[in-house]
Amino acid sequence: MANIISDETIDYVGILAKLELSDEEKEAAKKDMGRMLDYIDKLSELDTTGVEPMSHVFPVQNVFREDVVTNGDESEQTLVNAPGEKDNMFVVPKTFD
């Protein structure tokens, strides 16, 4: 079964992935994803009825801790890495008019 990826699907995935693809990249992505899905479709050969999805190999539980601050104020050091900062805050392009 060959998976044909439509322009609409690639545009939709681009929105989900927050990626802006050039026309050339879109065509390549359609082909790549189609081939990968053809390959992944191999899994449908296996009957997994009644098999629980396994997200973790060990029965791990959520780890809780007391809500106590253990690190100091690192805002200054953290903001050194920011592409834009002002008054101890991250600066971003405008989000609404």
């Binding site: 995935v13 992935a17 927050k18 802006e20 992505a29 390959y39």
Partner: protein, 478 residues
């Protein structure tokens, strides 16, 4: 004494005995880096001054009797996806070209507690996505055994640095074989521990349910010693396990009498290079001659591991890499007028093609309407794969097979066909899905002189059996 040819444990001993110093060893390895990097390019960042300063401090502590461990004074390389306080950490991506972490990964801190000197950060496939280290934004790394060939990946820089004597040992990370396969290609020892053994705190996440940090070393003794040093229970990593009996060096015993070793027939079928097959089977004979009981068996489901892996890893990657948005750190596109365009352009300009490919696939398999058919299906098959290993380990102490179907391919020959490249992960990938430990041990070379690795796989928490078998093999062929 040729300092550079010493193993990590031998070097630390020589320093303790006053035959050399941490500073002398660091200087020697920095000189070797300066001479070798034009050819091999193992590192993205070398911290010359910092390493020498750290070596001085470590040497003082050794002389004062404050540092007495088996790795005190040893210069290490760290894969560039582990955060290092004050040192550039790029993940070999443009999107982190200027990221200087404010903290260090727990595994790096554990090494520093043991007296390690950190030389710098090694090259890798961008965000650990790749099998050749060719997807790095900062250029390819070459295999020190033959510079026309790739070092493997994604921890290719770490494996190459060990092989080129540009460090005494290194840390890598392994999501689908990224420690074991480059170790095999470069002729060094590499181990992926049981999931949860080494803290992932400060490791930049790719596939969180699969990622593990582990050692790349010159021999099995170094491997066990480094693993012992970096293992810890870390409350900052919610999947970190509280393990007992982590004195892995106690398993450095040359004795496999009565050990049951299973060889999966499915690992020796079509696609396996005959020279690799012969070398791995010869290694099994060596262990048999040492008293191990070796037999073949059918593991099953081997062909389903790669599609399962790429579904799960891509899904987790698409989620993990959402954090790279040009707001808090890393690359930001300069020409965007609104926030969403800034997000999109920063990511589109900052990520390379393989990373985008996996983010797109991951976003698709997690999207409404496809989640059950692809993502949940893969998680169900993962449960079946885990069960197949459980059944195998009811019969065997250790599973033995190849690490990769071939020796290191030539530079430039892999990236054009992603699926073909993914097929090279067939023997390593299911171990990550099942959370198992695996070790790659050199077991000869092919007719071109390229190293071949054998892989030993253990049940969860059974690293000691792997170390014992690997050490016995290594001692037998010395």
């Amino acid at each position: 004494m040729d300092i550079l040819s010493l193993t990590a444990v031998e070097l630390a001993k020589a320093i303790r005995e006053g035959k050399t110093t941490a500073v002398e060893a660091t200087q020697a390895v920095l000189d070797k880096i300066a001479a070798g990097e034009d050819t091999y390019h193992c590192y993205v960042t070398v911290e010359r001054e910092k390493a020498l300063k750290q070596a001085e401090e470590v040497q003082k502590k050794i002389e004062a009797g404050e540092l007495t461990g088996p790795l005190a004074g040893v210069p290490f390389a760290i894969k560039d996806n582990m955060c290092t306080e004050g040192t550039l950490t790029t993940c070999s991506s443009k999107i982190l070209e200027n990221f200087v972490p404010t903290f260090s990964a727990e595994a790096v801190l554990n090494l520093e507690k043991a007296g390690a000197v950190i030389l710098g950060k090694t090259n890798m496939d961008e965000f650990a996505m790749g099998s050749t280290t060719e997807t790095s934004y900062y250029g390819v790394t070459k295999n020190p055994r033959n510079p026309e060939h790739v070092p493997g990946g994604s921890s290719g820089g770490s494996a190459a640095a060990v092989a080129a004597e540009e460090c005494f040992a290194a840390l890598g990370s392994d999501t689908g074989g990224s420690i074991r396969q480059p170790a095999s290609y470069c002729g060094v020892v590499g181990m992926k521990p049981t999931y949860g053994t080494v803290s992932r705190y400060g490791l930049i996440a790719y596939g969180s349910s699969l990622d593990q940090i582990g050692p790349l070393t010159k021999d099995v003794t170094d491997c066990a010693t480094v693993l012992e040093a970096i293992t810890s229970h870390d409350p900052k990593d919610s999947t970190s396990m509280e393990r007992k009996n982590t004195d892995f060096t106690s398993a450095l015993v040359a004795d496999v009498k009565g050990m049951k070793i299973g060889i999966p027939r499915d690992y020796f079928g079509e696609g396996l290079d005959p020279e690799v097959r012969d070398a791995v089977l010869a290694a099994a004979e060596v262990l048999k001659a040492q008293g191990a009981e070796v037999e073949e068996f059918d593991l099953s489901l081997v062909d389903y591991a790669i599609p399962t892996y790429y579904t799960i890893a891509a899904a987790e990657a698409s989620s993990n890499l959402e954090r790279f948005d040009g707001v808090k750190y890393g690359y930001r596109a300069q020409d965007a007028e609104d926030l969403h365009t800034m997000y999109k352009r920063s990511r589109s300009q900052g990520f390379g093609p393989e990373v985008k490919r996996r983010i797109m696939l991951g976003s698709f398999v997690l999207s409404s309407g496809y989640y059950d058919a692809y993502y949940l299906k893969a998680l169900r098959v993962k449960a079946l794969i885990k069960k197949a290993f459980d059944e195998a380990f009811a019969k065997y102490d250790v599973i033995l097979g190849p690490v990769a179907p071939t020796t290191a391919p030539k530079l430039g020959s892999s990236l054009s066909d992603p699926i073909k490249m993914y097929l090279g992960d067939i023997y390593t990938i299911s171990i990550n899905l099942a959370g198992l430990p695996g070790i790659s041990v050199p077991c000869g070379t092919d007719s071109k002189g390229l190293p071949i690795g054998m892989q030993l796989i253990g049940d969860c928490f059974q690293e000691k059996k792997l170390i014992r078998a690997a050490y016995t093999y290594e001692q037998s062929v010395k």
